[in-house]
Symmetry: C2
Subunit: 403 residues, 2 copies
Amino acid sequence: MLDFDIVEYQSRLEKTKSSMEKRGIEVLLITDPANMNYLSGYDAWSFYVHQMLIVIIDEPQPIWIGRFMDAAGAKAKTWMYDENIMSYPDYYVQSENYHPMEFIAEILEQIGHGNRAVGVEKEQYYFTAKSYEVLNEKLPNATFKDASQLVNWVRIIKSPQEIEYIRRAAKIAERSMYAGLKSIHTGARECDAAASIFFELVRGTEEYGGDYPSIVPMLPTGENTSTPHLTWSDQYFKEDNSVIVELAGCYKRYHCPLARTAHIGQAPEKLDRLAEIVAEGIDEVMSTVKPGIVLEELEEAWRRATRRYGIDKESRLGYSMGLNYPPDWGEHTASIRKGDQTVLQPNMTFHFIPGIWLDYYGLEMSESFLVTETGVEMFTDVPRELLIQSPFQLPDGSDGIIS
Amino acid sequence: MLDFDIVEYQSRLEKTKSSMEKRGIEVLLITDPANMNYLSGYDAWSFYVHQMLIVIIDEPQPIWIGRFMDAAGAKAKTWMYDENIMSYPDYYVQSENYHPMEFIAEILEQIGHGNRAVGVEKEQYYFTAKSYEVLNEKLPNATFKDASQLVNWVRIIKSPQEIEYIRRAAKIAERSMYAGLKSIHTGARECDAAASIFFELVRGTEEYGGDYPSIVPMLPTGENTSTPHLTWSDQYFKEDNSVIVELAGCYKRYHCPLARTAHIGQAPEKLDRLAEIVAEGIDEVMSTVKPGIVLEELEEAWRRATRRYGIDKESRLGYSMGLNYPPDWGEHTASIRKGDQTVLQPNMTFHFIPGIWLDYYGLEMSESFLVTETGVEMFTDVPRELLIQSPFQLPDGSDGIIS
């Protein structure tokens, strides 16, 4: 069963072809698993081997090429005819003697597209330097063009059904955040809290199950809150530890990221104050969001609100998000930062995450939001404050949040 | 705190340099996060942006280069001096105007290595075609060589401590498998079982916590058992469904993969028979494992045992495994398949997984094993048979396995 109506896939394909036309690309080789899913419906953990969706400007359906054992999955999960699912034999897999791009180049020659203008996603995790080298060598008559982010930009405006999927991911994100908070107290280990979060992320709600997020939950603790991307350990939480919880709910590969910071016990004055400043900055940014403005105006709004308190944040404040696969849930298109001239339009979706990492502590508080016809809508509803945890597990099993 | 003694990191570095020397490589640019971790200790979910470990043949310590906000994590998690941790400003991140490899090329020029023989991992997820293009352009005097899998091959023989980490991962794999089996019955959804598995994978044991596996648990169900890489849905399990459970326990990024097939209710004769044949094949292979033989002899042993029953498996039967990051737990070096001439040596570790995918059903049963001085040792201990599940959750909460 397809995750979207076939008409929606076809309209995505038309938009992609129109972008190809503008860039003079006749054959587009898509290796980003999110882009492959977006155009074909294909969803499997098979991106650790080479696979590709080929969009030919004058053909009605894309071609899927992957590993032999994955072809049955491609037939089951895509809207295309079975004839458009092709596969390479297993001896091409992780071999020093054969490369799947040799096989793919041969197919392109055979079906008469070896001498066309071929777009490749040069800046993409699953298109290796070697892949490009082999294609260049085996298709000497093709003209290669960089098509990085071509389909990503088509993805930036979401359909009503995509937005519904992100709303479901949002419900899962909220539940997982509360499950994590409940597990953060002395007597529990970081891995216990991460396990509780994962359980809720994957179980989902009674009505719909959760999908795996493209980044694992992060919960840097204590001094590690001064750096954003360390994962959990098996250390016990201690009184006076701060814990940053950054996670994303996921439904059918659509994400809703969410970050909060918790503190076990009495909050230090400076952290409490920092949380207030960040919340004020978020308020200012959210009241600025509306169609027609450009993204860097959100960065200005943030600076306007927080600079007077001595906050000077160099890193970007957020990014477009939605459908994705590991290792990232961001879409790699528009960023909320100085210089980004992307014009906000209704049905764009972003994660606004002004993480503050100082020498010995840090704070993250974020909001995922939808640009509406008139302004903004938040996907999740979790208090925008430092979340104070009781150091002790409460005997009645309640969540331990004391304020 | 480091995951290994500093002497172990240094010995790994020496082996890497000796391999560089043999291949005429003076400067090795390492972008595989597992290889970065192996040589430096660095462990963070930051591989979705460009980062690199540089090994210079005549320098005592590697250099880490990554995103500014990740540098504190690198200082905390590696054995190198803080001066060897360098970082690029945030405007290089996912930008159309700047590429981190420009920054890295500049550093290499500045420290006098821009004109040397430079090894790059061309066939690696996190080294994009664009990365290589930028390096070529910015370092016109360098001679580039393909160093794909150079460090991976150094990783193939494990130290006693690495083996201890895989043993811990094995305990976690067993517990997670049983938790999954307990959740597979009518009245539960695929996502509920996946959630239970994830919970155990991440919680780990009382003594040590679990880490995230590099591939999510897969549990293809019903007709989907005919294809290996589809993830879970939120459908309810039905009586007479088969369910393949493939997972890996993980401890400090070291994996122990494990697969079994369950059937809800009375097993169909043909599936039961298939499980017996596969178990017989595994027995034959395991009794063949010993130092000195080459890997393809294991494929021959498998064929010897199973061909007479009409099993003709085209895909590879397994691979070297251990330390890794998403999207794969395999090491991308030695494979158990025809033609692989790798000589088995003590302290190599493999996942033997002869998956059988037929038209409407399939079966996976696997073993992770260690090559010992005299033969083989299994990492996990789960019955090698089709695991029959009661269709109904048992009222006493017991595991529902009726045979």
